[in-house]
Every structure is written in structure tokens, then in C-alpha cells.
Symmetry: C2
Subunit: 408 residues, 2 copies
Amino acid sequence: MAVGEACFDFYPVRGVRLASVAAGIKETYKDSNLAPIFDLVLIEFEEGSSTAGVFTKNLFAAAPVVVGKKHLSVRSARYFLINSGNANAATGEIGIQDALLCCKALSDISGVDYDEVIPFSTGVIGERLPVKKITSSLSKLFEKLDASNWLLAAEGIMTTDTRPKIATRRFNVDDETVTITGIAKGSGMIQPNMATMLAYITTDVICTEELLQELLVKVVNRSFNRITVDSDTSTNDSCMLTATGKAPIDLRDLAAQQVFISELTSLMQELAQGIIRDAEGATKFVTVTVEGAPNAQVCLDVAYSIANSPLMKTAFFASDANWGRIIMAIGKVNVDVDVSLVDVYLGDICLMLGGAKAQAYRETDGAKVMAEKEIVIRVNLNCGDVSDTVWTSDLSHEYVKINAEYRT
Amino acid sequence: MAVGEACFDFYPVRGVRLASVAAGIKETYKDSNLAPIFDLVLIEFEEGSSTAGVFTKNLFAAAPVVVGKKHLSVRSARYFLINSGNANAATGEIGIQDALLCCKALSDISGVDYDEVIPFSTGVIGERLPVKKITSSLSKLFEKLDASNWLLAAEGIMTTDTRPKIATRRFNVDDETVTITGIAKGSGMIQPNMATMLAYITTDVICTEELLQELLVKVVNRSFNRITVDSDTSTNDSCMLTATGKAPIDLRDLAAQQVFISELTSLMQELAQGIIRDAEGATKFVTVTVEGAPNAQVCLDVAYSIANSPLMKTAFFASDANWGRIIMAIGKVNVDVDVSLVDVYLGDICLMLGGAKAQAYRETDGAKVMAEKEIVIRVNLNCGDVSDTVWTSDLSHEYVKINAEYRT
């Protein structure tokens, strides 16, 4: 059902090893056909690595989010321990203890301190974490650690995803080779607020945690914070960026930093767009660009109003060039915009010019654009110079089917 | 597909006559099976009537909304001229002229001034109003005016509605009989902002336009402004309240006013809920009550977050007591609420107590409530004393089907 081809190639990152096993956590799913077998993933970083992270702003942030943020504030991370199949969210104090038990069990096996382990969970909300299933799988998981296991790790973190999301970049800075490789998961409960469901990006550059955090926030706001499947913000969203420092490139060098940001943005947009391409029931990949806005808030309000409107999303599904719904979605944002200035384009076709239907517009031209798998809507408010872009999917029969049958 | 039975009985209102004809405006619909035959409605008020109105806040407010607001500000209304099948929205200056032409044609026939006619339109956005079809039907329409035509009028304003919405009250004040009767239409593009798609309520009490406007705004905020089908705000929303003054009850009398408000609220909630019961593809009627909020904004933000979440709406459709989605929807509202205080009830069943799953909660109990056609969700934030209620529908396969096939 996913829109467009996916590439599963990747470059390993020096200083990073991964492993993936089936711990039986996903057995509790009602629809086991939706769930792949792998459900427990370990990512190891060599000593001296820096890690930055952004996490969900949902008030019911899950236990692993609470624990992980605390651990990161104290120590640099050595291990990410990630389970799918259970979110350990809305589990109260017991959930916190369960997450800590898993960190401590990995500490016993690996020899690092328990607060050098960052736990992550994704899956059913409100159920106790099956701690025993996890801890009894840790020895096997630890033994499997290998620099080449990226794709298995990407599979191990999936829930309703139909395919793994992996992206990779290799480029030169000052004749040194730098690598960035990342994985992500998510296809529903997606309008991340500071981070998406789960994403892990690693690189071998040298970078302090302060600077890494700054870069991550900047790039998240051009990637994972610009996608929406359903306007719903998960309780477990986390996006992590780790630098192992194995390549002799230091990001305090501004020229190097500039190249790095450009590559990182491209990679994180690929992962974020990968989530939309694999959105629940998606048959269309839609880019919504708003230009000429007076400020960033109006710009995003209009873009998300289009991207989240059920009437727009069903029109995408139906390949219906329903421009009445587009202007409805723009107009329902109650901001100070002069509608008699608004232009709207569907691909290269001008639908609306100066707030009314464009004279030259022909329904057949619009329908042609809407029939494509990938659709671009561009709105120019012509009342400022701020622009931004969000990506979204359509609302299909399959979306309703998946979410009427799946237990979050 | 509508949820629950509807009653089509009504009391005529002294001083009000109505008519409904088929003018052929709806012939342009792709799916003519969705459209009833009547598409042009006239409502006449005797001289001396007072009219109050609230209109959409969508920036692309339709031409009839612009014209109607202007006419109301100048004169008291004598006629409402309402067409379905064409919204006359996003039609620019020509749309305004088209609406005025219709008012002037009715002025010629009826003898009132053209600005005593208030035009309303609902249907396809962005197409020119078929003025000739309307003006050539006006004589016939005028001849048919009769006090008993309420149900025909309710049918004439329908678009994707599967049944007419009519509500009526008759009660005594100081031994005098007072009547309120109203009609409404709408089943999609419904999260009204100050008014719903189209609603016309009339009564025979005596009331100044100032007071009537005040009462209308107050009661709209307890009825039409508390419903959502799809979070989408139409370009044509209008809600009108007319008092003909034929009953010797003056609303300046505070005791009479109190009784009247109570009856009006009950009637307008019935009409608003009627829209939700007949929402596009609806199989469930859902009441979301939020209590213990620190202020009105937080209260409504949480209520609408639940009511508009596609994941909640598919869970309603699937009769799935998916409380993970409920807490996600509460938590994604980024407000200052202590989640460890939050209680959630599904019907009489307590799901969550103090921010974690209630000890006594059994999935089978929750599932029983969700299997009902009518579901009540009650959230207590326990951090204030503000409460409010919104009504919504579910997100079904039929919803996607209707909106993938219908041209707004």
C-alpha cells in the first residue's frame, strides 16, 4: 500500500553496532499479520559518542520517554534498548520501574551503568511492559550485535508499518569520509510535536552534545515536525541523533557543519517522508507548501489545515480536484489574511488567482494532477515572505479498516 | 445510516409561511441520488418580525453570507431565499451580483425592498450561481407560500443529508401559547464557528433584534457551536432566529426570557444533534464531556481533540474501547494539566483514575459501552470547575465513500 519505491541500502557507521531479536512481545497483538516477528532491538555506541534527543510533548509521555530523558541528562548514552508491541505508556509509576528493570538487566550483561541505557517502547498503550520477555532475551540480543544489522533493526521497531524505513548518506568533508545512517518507524498517530514516533540517526563525526542537540532541533523542524498522517500526536515519539566521533571531522568547524546540516536535512526528510509514504492506508503522497505568509504560525496553520482536513484527504484518495475543499481548508484558519490575494496551484496548474477561480483553469487539468500518486499543493497568501512545507497522506478505505481493527 | 430515530412533527409559527420547489439547481450534481428534488426554498415573515443571525467565520465566506449580513444590518428581514446545490462561494464580485439579482427578482414579485430579502446558498463551491433557474422559479415559489410547509422547506435545503432536520416546541408563558419551530441542514464540512451550515429557527414571541441576537449567540454556543463531524468549517454556515411578535409575550420580561431560553436551547441542541446523527457515514452518536477544566479554552481544546481525532473516530466505528487513543487525544492538547489527576469514564465505566488504568476496569465492560449506538465519554481533568460538552460522529467506511464520491 505504500506510495513510491523504498531503498533499503545503507552504509554502516563506525562506532555503531545493532541487533534485533524476536522476544515474543508482539504475540499479544490482535492482528498478528500486521506485526513482523522482530520486536526487540539494541543499538550500541562506542564510548565517547555524543547523543541528542527530542521527545513527544504529549502530556501522557510514556515511561521510557521519562526515563530516557533523565538518563540522557546525566550521562552519555551507550545503548538504546527498543521494543515494539508495547508502548509502556499511561502505566504510571510501575511503568517507570519496568523500564528501569530493563535498563538494569542490560547493565548487568554489558557492564555499562544502567543510566547509560536509554529505553524506548512503541505499541499498545496502557498495558504493562512484559519485562521478563525482554530481560530473558537480552543475552541473545547482546551476542548478535553487529555493524551490519541496520535493516534488521529497522524491521524490529515496526508496528503497523508495512516496510522498514532506512536512509543513508556518505560524503566527503576535507577529504575525510563522513557517514550518516538512520532508521525510523511510524505510520499512524503521526503529527509529531518535536519528534516523530521513533527515529534513530547516527553519524561518525565529532560533535559535542550541546551542538548536536541544537542541530537536531533545527533539522527536526524541517523534517519530522513537518509531517502528519492523522493530526494525532503519539505518547512515545522520540528522535535521536548520535555522533560516534570516529571520523576526524569536528562540527565546530562551520564549513563542515554546513555540509553536515545539508546532508542531515536531506536524510531526515527522506525518513520523515518515508513515514508518510507508508502512512496507514496511504495511496497518495502529498506535499503542501504555503508561501507568502505574514509569519511562521499562519504559514503552518494554513498548511496543517489543508493537510489534516478529512475532506481534503478523501479528495486526494478520490483523485478529485476539489478546489472548494482547498479554499474551505485555507479559510477555516481564522487568521488575518486578505482572501482576495490568495493564489492556489495544484502541481503547475493555477486553480485560484486573487481569491477566485483562475480564468484559464480547466477541471481536466486539475484532475490530471490529482490522479498522480504524488501531489503538490502550493498556496501563496501574498501577504508576507514566510514559507514552509508539510507532507501528508490521503484518507482511504484502508485507513479506516486498519484503524478499526488495530489496537493502539 | 443516520443514528437514532427522527421526529418530523412540527407546530406552525404564527406569522411565518414557507414554500419549496424544484428549480433544477441540483441537476448539476454528479451523484443525483444524494440530492432530493427540492432545491429552492422561501421563508416569509410578516411585517414587524425581528431577525438575528450568526454566520461562518471562514475567510472565504460565501457571497450570500456577505450580502445577507449587509441586508440584515440595514433592514429587518421579510424573506429568506435559500437554494441548495450551489454554494455561491469563492465566486468573487460576480457571486455578490448574482445573489443581489435573486434578491431583486423576489423584490419585484413580493413588493418588499430587495434588502429585506436575505439570500442563502449551500452546495458546490466555486461554481456560478444559476441565477436564471432561480429567478424563473420565483413566481411559482411565491404562490406556494403556506404556514404548513415546514417539512418541505427542511427537505429543500438538504445536500448530503439523508433526512430533514426539524424541531418544534410549544409551551405556555403567562397562560399564552408560545411556539418555536426550526429546521437545519448539514452532515459534512461541520465544525461550525459561530453557526452551522444552515439553520432557521422562528418563534412568535415579541423580541427586539438586539436582544434576539444576544440570545442567539448564547444558545448557539451551547448547540451548533458544540458539534463536529470532520473539524471542517463551511464557507456558508448561517444560523438565523426570527421572532414574529404574534404571541403577546415580550422577552424583555425576564421570567418569560428564562423559559424561552431553556426551550430554545433544547430545540437548538436537538437540531444540532440531528446534524451529528445524520453525519456523513455516521454509525455512532458520541457525546464528549470534559469537566474540571481550569478554563473554557482548555475544556474545549480537550473535548475537540477527542471528538476530531481520526483514531478516536475509527475506534468508535469499530466499537473498540481503545482507551490508549483517548489518553493520546487528551495528552496531545499541549496545556498545563496534571495528568496524574485525570479520570476518564466511558458511559458509567471508569477507565482511568488518577492518570493510570483504573484497577477495577475490565475490557469487556468498556466494550459493552462502545458497542452501543450512543456513547458518552466523560473526562475529568480535576484541576478547575469549567465543564462543557461537544457532540460528534464516528469515521466509517461510508464516510470515506461519500466524500471520495461527492463534489463539495
